[in-house]
Symmetry: C2
Subunit: 268 residues, 2 copies
């Protein structure tokens, strides 16, 4: 009898061509489909909540699958993790309603983009942050970030060459936080690296955004624009102008992929 399972998946996107299976290269979807096919003894289609791009990470990507095998959910998790490479882990497996679909059933997705605003980046976080050494006006960035909350036309932040027609999205949270912490290893309460004492220790910026949907490269285009605002290259008010009818060429450059994490996907 067919069951629908909800998988929660975390991955380090560094070496992948992205979530989606492609003709060339290794994808997370492809690895999961191959691992599930071995488990099921037949091809299995894996549907992800968000198609993260090459180099983008996930802390809590969600995928839905239909299988017939009767294994309990924890055996499915163990079995998948035993055959997946170490840079992809299934952190949770739950029974779901038969019509559950990771993408179409999603109510909200949350992304986080990490920026290290310091003279250098720790070796341990080099694959997980965008290095921006220049001084940043956090207040201006925060004002601009918060202007995104609500229902807007995000055409100015869509991927160049994208053929998406519907560009209206609703953003429920959009804010920037400054942290004294690190993106690298080591128990909390102690910095990962001995930083020069002349340097402000709170140099990790996290842009967090939640919404009902995101266009391709949208979070990275927003982050690139926010950083240009922080550098003083454009006013904070330019964010509202871009939402009111700007073109992609008027927004900022797309931030690099390695700072971006799909944090979680929420369902009703």
């Amino acid at each position: 009898m067919a069951r629908t399972l909800k998988l929660t998946v975390t991955y380090d996107g560094t070496r992948f061509v992205g979530w989606q299976r492609q003709a060339e290269g290794v994808s997370i979807q492809g690895l999961l489909e191959d691992a599930l096919a071995r488990f099921e003894g037949a091809p299995v289609a894996v549907h992800g909540a968000g198609r993260t791009d090459a180099g983008v990470h996930a802390l809590g990507q969600v995928a839905s699958v239909q299988i017939t095998s009767a294994h309990p959910t924890d055996a499915v998790a163990r079995g998948l993790n035993a055959s997946l490479p170490q840079d992809v882990r299934v952190t949770d497996v739950q029974e779901a309603a038969v019509d559950f679909h990771a993408r179409f059933s999603a109510r909200s997705k949350t992304y986080r983009y990490l920026v290290r605003n310091a003279s250098f980046v720790s070796p341990f976080e080099r694959a997980y942050v965008w290095h921006v050494p220049e001084a940043l006006d956090l207040d201006a960035m925060r004002t601009a970030a918060r202007a995104l909350v609500g229902t807007h036309d995000f055409a100015a932040f869509r991927s160049a060459g994208s053929d998406t027609k519907e560009t209206i999205r609703t953003i429920s949270q959009s804010d920037i936080f400054r942290h004294a912490g690190r993106a690298g290893p080591g128990p909390p309460g102690e910095p990962a690296t001995a930083r020069p004492t002349s340097e402000d220790d709170a140099t990790l910026l996290a842009y967090e955004v939640s919404g009902n949907g995101f266009l391709r490269h949208m979070v990275r285009a927003i982050t690139g624009t926010l950083v240009e605002i922080g550098r003083g290259r454009r006013p904070a008010a330019s964010m509202a102008s871009l939402l009111a009818g700007g073109s992609r060429a008027q927004a900022g450059a797309t931030a690099p992929p390695q700072g971006l994490f799909l944090v979680r996907v929420d369902y009703d």
Copy 2:
């Protein structure tokens, strides 16, 4: 005129043959010597405080160098970081006494070994922890760890085949901490991965040890022994027996390199 500089260096040891320059492979010492030679226009010898092995990381390795160029210390740091790969960063450069030697002047070194005691390891910490999924008796491990404090013969924890004659060392701190935190990326205050709720969240164990010197593989042999004690395969009291005249064969297996960090080196 010759100056002696004290460099503080952090590196992700994953791809290196270790600190020390070798005939084959990439070493941190070799990278620093090559970068300094370009800076100085002549060969420069770099002396490190501790010879970390292949795959072992450093948060605060210290190195001493003698150069003649008159560049200010911050220019030296910037120049070195501009030519070093991203997995090695010079975090600080200071003028030092002419006779300062990173190894011979060191009073104490501190190492940390991270163990993830959970059913799976986050992709973001896979290169920075030892995965031990079995239940561990932390009290027994702590008792055994603390028995190392003082001046002892560590012959039982020296690398097999090592020709070191002097095996007496003084340990000033040796303890185990359990942390709710993570070794992976993401701002503090939120777990890096959505872990199953059935799992104790405080599953990151950090063994920290400080002393006036360490034999080759000593911290990893101690950690391997501590984990065997934690698993109940040997009593906590066996640590004292090993110090009182045990052989390498009687101690535990050497823990894998990727969990080990040289945290800092202290000088008078």
